[in-house]
């Protein structure tokens, strides 16, 4: 049982604030991912939890006990590093058993634990090798093995897949998910890769410049991003953002960008009613835009556009289009053939549009 809680945790490095007033609860056995661009404070958060950095202010709880002054080795945590950080002078067996040896466990028990972990990860054959004799993927497994052997309450993973090639990364991602489904620990995972965050986690914490932007289940964040940053960070290709003017026509609201009237109406919600200015930012995910050759769609619900580039990815097509000078990206699973400069038209799924305030960049519901 290990619940983790941050209470108003701040970390300063000189004048630089790396982490600003973080309050976050991570439930027992939950898989939580901290995600954001470099310098967003995610690794600092992990290091504070690991006891490798001291918080400048605020309290950190593990299992309802304040651990600010508990040394790292006594927090019952295990950590996997981006660089794997295996001990180069020890073989795999000693690497995995080192943490237990330091704690004075008997050799027979260490051997048993190492064998069990090695079996789970399928690295029994590597136990007598040195780290330099292993491939990147194997090192990654050993680093995981070192964490598992300790059977800790909390697993901390700091960008564990970043050093692997793309193919191996996808495979290890699935393996990680399976592995942590089997294990009984709380997992805090740090990555800058939104795909890892979306696929692995129970909940995702999106961070920027030391401040938490939004916390929630991956799909909840994807479907209801709290601000422009979260909306743009999650999803690939990224969400399209267009500056628009709000036009109030009787009971209905519509959006215009220059001469273009976007082909859907909006219900007059409280947020929109309270809006002081008329300008908003429209956000549309690429998969919510449908592109068709000119004339195939009903004129009233579509907008004419020009095709810039079509990228055939095999399973999907990424289409770059221009609507009155604004570039949009659409993805479609169906076949789409067009040449650069061809005229086409688009429709947008009205239930999937997002509106943001250009001043606060917050979501307007």
């Amino acid at each position: 049982m290990a619940e983790i809680r941050f209470e108003n945790v701040t970390k300063k490095f000189g004048p630089v604030i790396a982490l600003s007033d973080l309050s976050l609860q991570i439930n027992d056995r939950e898989f939580v991912t901290l995600v954001g661009p470099s310098g967003c404070g995610k690794s600092t958060t992990l290091n504070i939890l690991a006891g490798l950095e001291d918080a400048s202010a605020g309290l950190v709880y593990i299992d309802n006990k304040v651990v600010n002054d508990v040394p790292s080795g006594k927090r019952d945590i295990a950590m996997v590093f981006q660089s794997y950080a295996l001990y180069p002078h020890m073989n795999v067996r000693d690497n995995m058993g080192f943490g237990l040896k330091v704690r004075g466990m008997k050799k027979a028990e260490i051997d048993q634990r190492v064998s069990e972990a090695a079996q789970i990860l399928g690295i029994e054959a590597l136990l007598n090798r040195r780290p330099r004799e292993l491939s990147g993927g194997q090192r990654q497994r050993v680093a995981l093995g070192r964490a598992i052997t300790r059977n800790p309450k909390v697993f901390l993973l700091d960008e564990p897949l970043s050093n692997l090639d793309a193919k191996l990364r996808t495979q290890m991602r699935a393996d990680l998910k399976l592995l942590f489904n089997r294990l009984d620990g709380t997992v805090v995972y740090v990555t800058h890769d939104q795909a890892e965050a979306m696929t692995l986690s129970d909940r995702v914490v999106v961070m920027k410049e030391g401040v938490v932007q939004q916390v929630g289940a991956p799909l909840a964040l994807y479907d209801h991003p709290a601000n422009i940053f979260v909306a743009g960070f999650l999803g690939s290709p990224t969400m399209n953002f267009v500056n628009c003017t709000l036009a109030r026509e009787a009971e209905r609201l519509s959006l215009r960008t220059g001469e273009v009237r976007w082909p859907f109406n909006l219900p007059p919600t409280a947020d929109l009613a309270a809006l002081k200015s008329e300008s908003v930012v429209l956000g549309v995910r690429p998969e919510d835009i449908t592109v068709a050759p000119m004339g195939q769609l009903v004129a009233a619900s579509s907008v004419p556009c020009t095709v810039e580039v079509v990228e055939h990815m095999g399973s999907i097509n990424i289409i770059y289009i221009s609507v009155a000078g604004t570039r949009l990206i659409a993805t479609m699973e169906t076949a789409f053939e067009a040449r650069s400069g061809d005229a086409a038209c688009i429709t947008i799924n009205p239930g999937k549009v997002h509106l943001f305030s250009p001043d606060t960049s917050k979501r307007l519901d």
Partner: protein, 281 residues
Amino acid sequence: MTTNYRLQKQISTVLLYVVIFIVLVIIAFPVYWLISTSLKPGLESSTYPPTYIPSRLVFDNYVAVLKSENVKFLKNSLIVAVASTFLTTIMGAMAAYALSKTYIAFWIRRALMLWILVTRIFPPITTAIPYYVIIKNLGLADTYAALIITYVSYGLPFVIWLMLGFFQDLPADIEKAAIVDGCSMWQRFRQVVLPLTLPGLAVTAIFAFIFAWNEFLYASILTSFTAKTLPVVISTFISDQYLRWGEMSAMGSMMIIPVMIFALAAQKYLVRGLTFGAVKG
């Protein structure tokens, strides 16, 4: 074109070997001169013009030098050099580790480092007399301790500065992993950091050994008989009446042997070590 290029390449290879040969001769000649002088009969070592190759090989000088008293001085030299090498390396490594890994204010660390370096800047002779008085008042004159303390204090700055580079180049994550694994600072140093910086330790140990083995000034000031070391013994072959070149060379030749054995044993670390500490990987 191809032949031309091949010829050019061959010429440059030959030139390279010629240069290497010249450098080798320059380095090896003093050693050759030392050994050949030690094997020359009688007064041949003082003749003019000098003989480059001994007229015949005799071992009289070695027999004269290897009398029992000198064996005792050899023992002194070994004890002092080994003990001071061991202490300098271990203490220096610990000091460097503490300096590189503990959180102290930048300016304090800088001041400490500079202070450590300053002790190496002035020539040893400047402190010789106060040093002699202190050692004498401590009742340590003519003891191993006098020399060992001196050599350790002179060797430490070098070891600290060199090892600091090695420790700073260690990947931070490895130490973090050890911290999370529950290691205390000492366990980290002993079980993770030291094994990984063995090349650095080997380099510093060689330099510390060579320094202690060859040191003459303090050995001649601080010892008179009991703790006298070989360099001081060699100096006794110089008197106002004559220079005993033969015996001096014989002892000098023998003095090279332990250093050579030590250096050869640690050679693979030496080459790796000198670059390991300097360049970030």
